[in-house]
């Protein structure tokens, strides 16, 4: 039904960059706020971090549905192993952009702090307060976040390699204003 096109579709491009910006904001914020002594500022930064994460989780749903119903442009000519790595990275990126905010949400609940979206909309706690589970989820959130960042790095390196060394349209077809 959907013919492969040279460029990604508009919604796919929009979701890609929006989620990219949110992830690249949430990660350094998470690293920074974690080490702060308890203060009103820390409470605020934690809330912002959680709101960003919940937004990623919220955007993930239409994004994955769109991806499943709209074929992306056919891969450009490249060695099979590169194509495999690129595809594997994409799959893992999808998985992690779901698991990282999910583990954060669960951790917040387990630690006894409900997530209240933008300070007004209470998000249900999927699990109750549980100190040990909270600590386990904190470790998981950390490991998953670093994994996500590593994959983002790999993803970015691949895009730049195609753009600068191969001089092909891999990156351009995902750029919002490209042709």
């Amino acid at each position: 039904m959907n013919q492969p096109t040279a460029r990604y579709t508009g919604p796919a491009i929009a979701a890609h960059w929006l989620i990219a910006i949110l992830i690249l904001a949430a990660f350094p914020l998470g690293l920074y706020m974690h080490g702060l002594p308890l203060s009103p500022n820390k409470l605020k930064l934690y809330s912002y971090h959680k709101w960003i994460g919940m937004t990623v989780l919220l955007l993930f749903v239409p994004r994955i549905l769109w991806r499943l119903t709209h074929r992306p442009p056919a891969p450009l000519p490249m060695p099979a192993w590169q194509h495999k790595i690129a595809e594997g990275t994409h799959h893992l990126l999808y998985l992690l952009m779901f698991l990282v905010p999910l583990s954060g949400w669960l951790m917040s609940s387990a630690k006894g702090f409900q997530v209240v979206y933008f300070g007004v909309l209470p998000i249900p706690d999927l699990i109750g307060k549980d100190k040990e589970l909270g600590e386990l989820l904190e470790e998981m959130h950390e490991v998953l976040s670093w994994s996500l960042m590593t994959l983002v790095g790999l993803h970015l390196a691949g895009a730049l390699k195609h753009h600068i060394i191969d001089k092909d349209s891999t990156l351009r077809r995902m750029l919002p204003f490209g042709k």
Partner: protein, 191 residues
């Protein structure tokens, strides 16, 4: 006369009621609780005080003669997390070294109808004394009297959370306090 008769029997009933009235005095600390809920960035965070003493004299037939004194050991706070517990005993919050306890002394109790009452009194925290009105319900559970009530305390009235913590957009000014007090009748105590 007829009316006199009714009045007399009513008076007799009242007297009989008063004679049989029980005064609830012996607070069962293990069954009583003192909880609160603060709002941090819109997130309700429950907490409680593990140690407090309550003295109550309450006769449901004569609520206006009731009185209570509540004393809270502020260091026994559970504010929801270890970080918070370490923080709130400090100088900017309760400053428990200088002010180890909070105290509520009632000045009066009003009957609001049914099982509803209202305790009026003075709350002292961190050297600040303010008037407090706490509605509560009273019910009998077996021989015990059970008091359930609460009120909203404005933390800034008592300088709870000074310096950067005075920012009520991070931690709201309004703190919901809820108490549950179980007291046995005075007679039971004499056993």
């Amino acid at each position: 006369m007829k009316i006199n008769h009714i009045a007399l029997s009513a008076a007799a009933l009242l007297l009989a009621g008063a004679a049989h009235a029980v005064e609830f005095k012996q607070v069962d600390a293990a069954k009583s609780s003192l909880a609160f809920s603060s709002k941090q960035m819109g997130v309700p965070v429950p907490g409680s005080f593990k140690k407090f003493t309550t003295q109550i004299t309450f006769d449901p037939a004569k609520p206006t003669t009731a009185s209570t004194v509540l004393e809270i050991d502020l260091a026994s706070i559970d504010a929801g997390s270890k970080d918070a517990n370490d923080e709130v005993v400090g100088k900017q919050w309760f400053n428990v070294k200088a002010f180890p306890t909070a105290k509520f002394v009632s000045t009066g109790v009003k009957a609001l109808g049914g099982n509803r009452f209202e305790a009026i009194g003075k709350m002292t925290i961190k050297g600040q004394t303010r008037d407090v009105t706490a509605p509560f319900t009273f019910k009998q559970d077996g021989a015990n009297g059970v008091f359930d009530g609460g009120f909203v305390l404005k933390r800034m009235d008592y300088n709870i959370g000074e310096g950067p913590w005075a920012d009520v957009s991070a931690v709201a000014n309004e703190i919901e306090i809820k108490f549950h007090v179980v007291a046995a009748p005075a007679a039971a105590a004499k056993k």
